[in-house]
């Protein structure tokens, strides 16, 4: 035993265990996020419990089982502490019960067994969350049009029809009316601009007014169409359901997103539902203060910001890397450049945030407003956190990633290739442009991918320079100039922070936060794995070339 210690075997075991601990933590974390994120999309079974409340009455609880916790309760007779499981049930029907979630004590359950509620229907609504209940009738204009067996097929039909209507409404509201509003706003700004330049005469006024009248006329026309669609929606009627405890509620078809009967679904149907849910999550609009619905605007915001950032960071990074490995001579300047890059990589991201806010937003943005958008002041155009500033800040933050990766790629290209180029009479710039850079393209791509992954996951600086909880408009749309650099945008990472910590209904929003986290982790891990693969391939290729 003494020898075992003397040889340091115990340390070897400890160090082996450290590796295992790290791996277990990583894998555990990823597993946890994946499971919790994916479970959100799977149709939960709906249970039906009879509860004995303290005053001797029985109560029926219908809902999804979300969590179980052991709670220590002192037994009043024996004085012993007993651990009794508590169920966290999602009972839905927020408009009736006031809360979505309820803790129930399993000791109060009559019969003490899990009973699936046969034939229960879950309806996802645009407002007030889910409804759990049994279908009864469909009512149109005060008349019962379907009962019992007829209800389900008719409901499928009606919900599908209402979805189609919704798509049309959405298109008109978002694209057509949004476009008209945008043009009207541009006209207003043009008028202000002309007024500021003292060129607003009667001619300009009549021209502007004419355009405005045309737009207004079109607006009214579209509104009339919209009104027709809405009344069509209203005429679809409503479905009545009986809830736990016998209460009956009417759910109008216009407020239904979708519905399903989890307890009567086959595995195949459930899988279909699972992918359908993922679709809703990826392409849906957020509802109820971001705690329900999808994350489409956040995805669009993140992607737009990241692409813009890539456009800014690539030339900067590649030029710096080319300078370091092709032009600079070993010496003080190169040393300082290296130290600068290292420091740029080490500066806390929040410092980039305040730099972006103070320098880009207030100083540069403020000057742009003073020079070009003075007519719009005091409401700022670029002198406020916006997409442009966010992507510039992130470009600065990810610059070292691109430089380091590109430089590595450049250094792996055999000198013989460069010398060959020069020997054939090419100038240095031609050698770099035609031979070196094309060959190091994969390295540049690697750097870019890593930069994109970093920018997609970073939140702290974005909070200061352009990300908001809820952006009314997407940063890209169908109105010229299509990419709106002066708009604020939503971001997946900030979405997690905001919904997880600032939302009033933490329990209800948690599954969504896990799902968003999973999405973000998948994006980032995917990007990183991609970068690693490209890099490894590159290394192999140059190893062969070098030999």
């Amino acid at each position: 035993m003494k020898a075992w210690f003397k040889e340091g075997e115990h340390w070897v075991w400890f160090s082996a265990a450290s590796v295992s601990i790290s791996v277990v933590l990583v894998v555990g974390l990823l597993l946890m996020i994946s499971i919790r994120g994916l479970v959100h999309f799977w149709p939960h079974e709906v249970y039906d419990y009879q509860l004995q409340s303290e005053n001797g009455q029985t109560e029926q609880i219908v809902g999804e089982l979300h969590d179980t916790k052991l709670k220590e309760i002192k037994n009043s007779e024996s004085g012993m502490i007993e651990k009794i499981p508590q169920f966290l049930m999602k009972v839905g029907n927020r408009d009736i019960y006031g809360i979505d979630f309820r803790w129930i004590n399993t000791a109060d359950i009559i019969g003490r067994q899990d009973r699936l509620d046969n034939g229960v229907t879950v309806i996802e609504r645009f407002e007030y969350g889910n409804v759990y209940g049994h279908l009864q009738t469909i009512i149109q204009e005060g008349q019962v049009v379907a009962e019992q067996k007829q209800v389900l097929p008719m409901m499928h039909q009606l919900v599908e029809a209402s979805q189609t209507l919704y798509q049309r409404i959405n298109h008109i509201e978002k694209v057509t009316l949004g476009g008209i509003n945008y043009q009207l706003e541009q006209l207003r700004l043009e008028q202000k601009k002309l007024q500021a330049e003292d060129q607003y005469d009667t001619e300009a006024e009549s021209a502007l007014n004419q355009q405005r009248d045309e737009l207004n006329a079109e607006f009214r026309e579209q509104q009339a169409v919209l009104k027709g669609l809405y009344s069509q929606l209203n005429r679809m009627g409503e479905v009545s359901l009986s809830l736990a405890g016998g209460q009956v509620i009417q759910v109008p078809f216009k407020s239904i997103v979708r519905f399903w009967q989890p307890n009567n679904m086959s595995v195949f149907e459930k899988t279909g539902f699972f992918f359908n849910s993922i679709g809703h999550f990826l392409f849906g609009e957020p509802r109820e203060a971001n705690t329900e619905g999808g994350v489409f605007p956040a995805i669009v915001g993140t992607i737009t910001m990241v692409i813009l950032m890539a456009i800014f960071v690539t030339p900067m990074g590649v030029i710096a890397a080319v300078y370091m490995s092709e032009y600079a001579k070993e010496g003080l300047v190169l040393k300082i450049v290296r130290i600068s890059i290292n420091n740029l990589a080490g500066v806390p991201s929040i410092v980039f945030g305040i730099f972006g806010l103070g320098f880009f937003v207030y100083i540069i943005g403020g000057s742009i407003d003073d020079l070009f958008y003075e007519y719009a002041l005091p409401s700022p155009t670029f002198g406020t956190p916006a997409l442009l500033w966010a992507s510039l800040t992130m470009a600065l933050l990810t610059l070292p990633v691109v430089i380091v990766s590109t430089q590595e790629g450049l250094s792996r290209i055999p000198t013989a290739l460069r010398e060959g180029g020069l020997a054939l009479g090419a100038t240095q710039s031609e050698t770099i442009m035609k031979i070196v850079l094309p060959m190091s393209m994969p390295a540049i791509m690697t750097g870019l991918i890593l930069a994109v992954a970093r920018a997609a996951g970073e939140v702290a600086p974005l909070m200061l320079v352009g990300v908001v909880k809820l952006a009314p408009e997407l940063p890209i749309d169908f109105n010229a100039p299509f990419i709106h650099l002066d708009r604020k945008f939503m971001h997946l990472g900030f979405h997690i922070y905001d919904v997880g910590f600032q939302s009033p209904n933490v329990e209800a929003s948690q599954p969504l936060v896990y799902a968003t986290s999973l999405l973000l982790v998948l994006i980032i891990v995917g990007l990183n794995l991609g970068a690693i693969t490209i890099r490894n391939r590159l290394r192999e290729k140059y190893k062969a070339l070098g030999n």
Partner: protein
């Protein structure tokens, strides 16, 4: 054929077109070279830009005030009369002078031309005493010779005609032009305070040796806009003639009767009918006298101007018995002589002094800064600061009025207020406090960097405590013992943590780990014991196994063997949580900590941060130290092994000493990352800016503070600049750590090169 080719070549490589092409190509090449060099050096520029920009924003904090006398003109109104009050508008355009003869003189500050001349409705009486009732609302009280008290309010109208701003000063009478009839005799000393619901008047009548205290309720009149006063309590305090000043504090409870020789009697007059004498105290050292006395903004601190060229700040402090007593907080040296006048700023805790050497001095109390001084040729009698602190009116004994332009943006920040203990108003002792904003206007901002820096280091320290052992040990194993193939999967797997968005780690730490840890506290602590002991036992047990089994798993694959062991041990420790808490902590460790051990417990605490942020730091430390160990030349290792040392002995004796600079720089880099990490601490630390090393309490770090407060800070305010200062501190911190790490690594690279 060959000749033809030669000819074609000659043609192509000669002549003006060829020359032109070569010239163009060379030009392109040269411009490329220079533009790329500019771009490359641009990286240095961007780092410098960040640093200089931070310094540029921070620098104005430490600039002294600029005071410039701009204009001087004859005193508007009667030069003989004594000035009681100057009212100034926010734009520094007009002012109103009120004299002891009851004259109201409105004039423009630009050139002193009269706007309006009027008189107070004295009805034949004289003004015998004067007091400011509300500094904020400019309410004034005049005690008259016929025993009436006249309350007026200074205000001004702003009107825009043809986009030109005109301002008219005015005086209103919120309690009626008649005044409040207090007595028949003249009121010779007076103090009064008013708030939303009541009015308190403290006064002394001519020839009487007692002070009267009267409290009134303010009742809105049903018929007009005026307020009616209803008296509800009254009392007296006997005094001697020596009392020179009556001073009533802002909350209407502290009354100070101060004599010239410096004796102050401190009364609690919350209940007017039974005033309580709390303390008799000498405000100035023996042999000195008080020349002037004034409240600082907020009417809490007494600023005492002595004839020994000093200003002393006193305010009531609560002791352990919950009793208040006046205490000397700080003293300010005025380089002149006897301090004849103390004037105050209306928007912050600054003050100005006039003294017998005709000097004007500008100070800030909290920051203990002397900001500026100006010499005048005439004796000075009165000073009034502009409402925004950007100007002042100074009256001289020779009947002149000087207008001063003051540029004094950030008097409230100094080295001592950022890094020293400061005794803030209402605090029991000097302390380090961060509290940057509040709803009230007479708020004293508390900009101590100490709790934030402490929180930053605390968070980073606990995170390092978790991360360093695991990361370094894992690096040792991966680089030294592990087989190449396994290493190629393990290394990226651990480095993957670095790519994980910290917002996700923060979310998990705050919403999942923190509550879980709270309910399994004992389990988490038992991991510290169970895991090492379990690993040791398992390892020793493994070495006792028969050889064929032992050889199944070579040293390089032990990590795989340990995977299930670690999981099982962790699970065991956590499931022991309940029984341990029953055995040792009466069933609930959290409860036990709070009530039996007296340790405060927050759900989001340093322990959670230690785990979560430590997890995030593992890849940084792991990756760099793994590289350092892996790059140790193999002939060193082989030599040691050949001489009969065991694997571990080789590692400790040969590899680690060689790789230690690399491991050191890895730890530096990890520490730097821990200092700057924002989202995890923001979401899982509770963000309370307290100085407490307790493992079970939260903290607020510099970075989280920036994330929380930056969006709300008004641009170019002191708060904004102080936040940039904390950004600069972070920048310098990480700059030093990174450069240090880089220098050490550079040196190591050279050393390996020579080996």
């Amino acid at each position: 054929m060959e000749q033809q080719t030669q000819k074609a070549l000659d043609q192509a490589l000669k002549g003006p077109r060829f020359e032109k092409r070569i010239k163009r190509r060379n030009l392109v090449d040269r411009s490329w070279a220079s533009s790329i060099s500019v771009g490359g050096v641009g990286v240095i520029f961007s780092v410098l830009l960040i640093m200089f920009f931070l310094v540029y924003v921070v620098a104005p904090l430490f600039v002294s005030a600029k005071v410039e006398p701009t204009k001087v003109y004859a005193l508007p109104g009667s030069p003989q009369a004594q000035t009681l009050f100057y009212g100034m508008d926010e734009y520094k355009e007009t002012a109103m002078r009120i004299t002891d003869e009851g004259d109201l003189v409105g004039f423009t500050i630009e050139d002193g031309s009269l706007l309006k001349q009027d008189g107070l409705p004295l009805n034949g009486a004289r003004i015998t005493s004067f007091a400011k009732v509300s500094e904020k609302d400019n309410i004034l009280a005049f005690g008259l010779s016929d025993g009436r008290l006249l309350l007026t309010q200074y205000d001004y109208d702003v009107s825009y005609q043809n986009n030109v701003r005109t301002i008219h000063p005015k005086l209103s009478y919120p309690f009626g032009k008649q005044g409040v009839e207090l007595a028949e005799e003249a009121i010779c000393q007076l103090a009064a305070r008013v708030d939303d619901s009541q009015l308190v008047i403290v006064y002394r009548l001519e020839g009487q040796d007692e002070i009267q205290i009267r409290q009134f309720d303010k009742v809105e009149s049903m018929f007009s806009d005026e307020t009616v006063l209803e008296e509800y309590a009254a009392g007296q305090i006997p005094v001697t003639d020596s009392v020179e000043w009556l001073k009533l504090g802002g909350y209407m409870r502290n009354l100070y009767l101060v004599s010239k020789s410096g004796e102050a009697n401190y009364y609690d007059i919350r209940n007017a009918s039974t005033p309580i004498h709390l303390q008799t105290v000498q405000l100035v050292p023996d042999g000195q006298n008080i020349r002037s006395l004034n409240f600082l903004l907020g009417e809490y601190s007494l600023m005492v101007g002595t004839d020994d060229s000093r200003v002393l700040q006193w305010f009531p402090v609560r002791d352990e018995q919950n009793e208040f007593s006046l205490q000397l907080i700080r003293s300010f040296e005025v380089e002149g002589e006897s301090v004849s006048f103390v004037g105050i700023e209306h928007n912050r805790k600054g003050f100005v002094t006039l003294d017998d050497s005709n000097q004007f001095n500008l100070f800030h109390s909290t920051a203990e800064r002397h900001l500026a001084s100006v010499n005048f040729s005439d004796p000075l009698t009165y000073i009034e600061m502009a409402p925004r602190g950007n100007g002042a009116l100074v009256e001289t004994a020779s009947g002149q009025l000087h207008v001063l332009e003051i540029e004094n943006e950030h008097p409230d920040v100094s080295f001592s207020s950022l890094w020293g203990e400061v005794w803030y108003e209402g605090y029991e002792a000097p302390d380090y406090v961060w509290q940057s904003s509040s709803a009230s206007t007479d708020f004293e901002p508390k900009f101590s960097m100490v709790p934030l820096t402490f929180g930053t280091i605390k968070a980073a320290f606990y995170a390092m405590l978790f991360a360093v052992p695991i990361a370094v040990m894992a690096a040792i194993y991966t680089a030294f013992f592990m087989e190449g193939k396994a290493r190629q999967t393990v290394k990226p797997a651990i480095e993957l943590i670095e790519a994980l968005p910290t917002v996700i780690l923060g979310f998990l730490a705050g919403l999942w780990l923190a509550p879980y840890m709270e309910s399994h506290l004992a389990g988490f602590f038992s991991i510290l014991l169970v895991l090492p002991v379990g690993i040791l036992l398992f390892g020793y047990g493994w070495s006792r196994l028969p050889e064929p089994i032992r050889l199944l798993v070579p040293t390089g694959q032990r990590a795989i063997l340990m995977l299930p062991v670690v999981v099982i041990l962790g699970w065991m420790a956590l499931s022991m949580s309940g029984p341990i808490e029953h055995l040792f902590f009466n069933g609930d460790m959290r409860h036990w900590l709070t009530f039996n051990a007296g340790i405060d417990f927050d759900q989001r605490n340093a322990l959670v941060i230690g785990f979560a942020m430590g997890f995030a730091l593992i890849p940084t430390i792991f990756s760099v130290s793994e590289d350092a160990i892996y790059n140790v030349p193999s002939y060193l290792v082989n030599g040691s092994l050949a001489l009969g040392a065991s694997g571990w002995q080789t590692l400790v004796g040969v590899v680690l000493p060689t790789a230690s600079p690399g491991i050191f720089s890895a730890i530096m880099l990890g520490f730097g990352r821990g200092i700057g990490e924002t989202m995890i601490v923001l979401m899982a630390s509770g963000n309370t800016p307290l100085m407490d090393g307790n493992l079970f309490q939260g903290m607020r770090t510099l970075s989280a503070n920036l994330a929380v407060e930056m969006p709300e800070a008004e641009i170019y305010s002191s708060h904004y600049r102080v936040l940039f200062l904390s950004g600069l501190i972070l920048f310098i911190f990480t700059f030093v750590l990174n450069t240090l790490a880089e220098v050490v690594r550079e040196r190591m690279r050279r050393k390996y090169g020579s080996l």
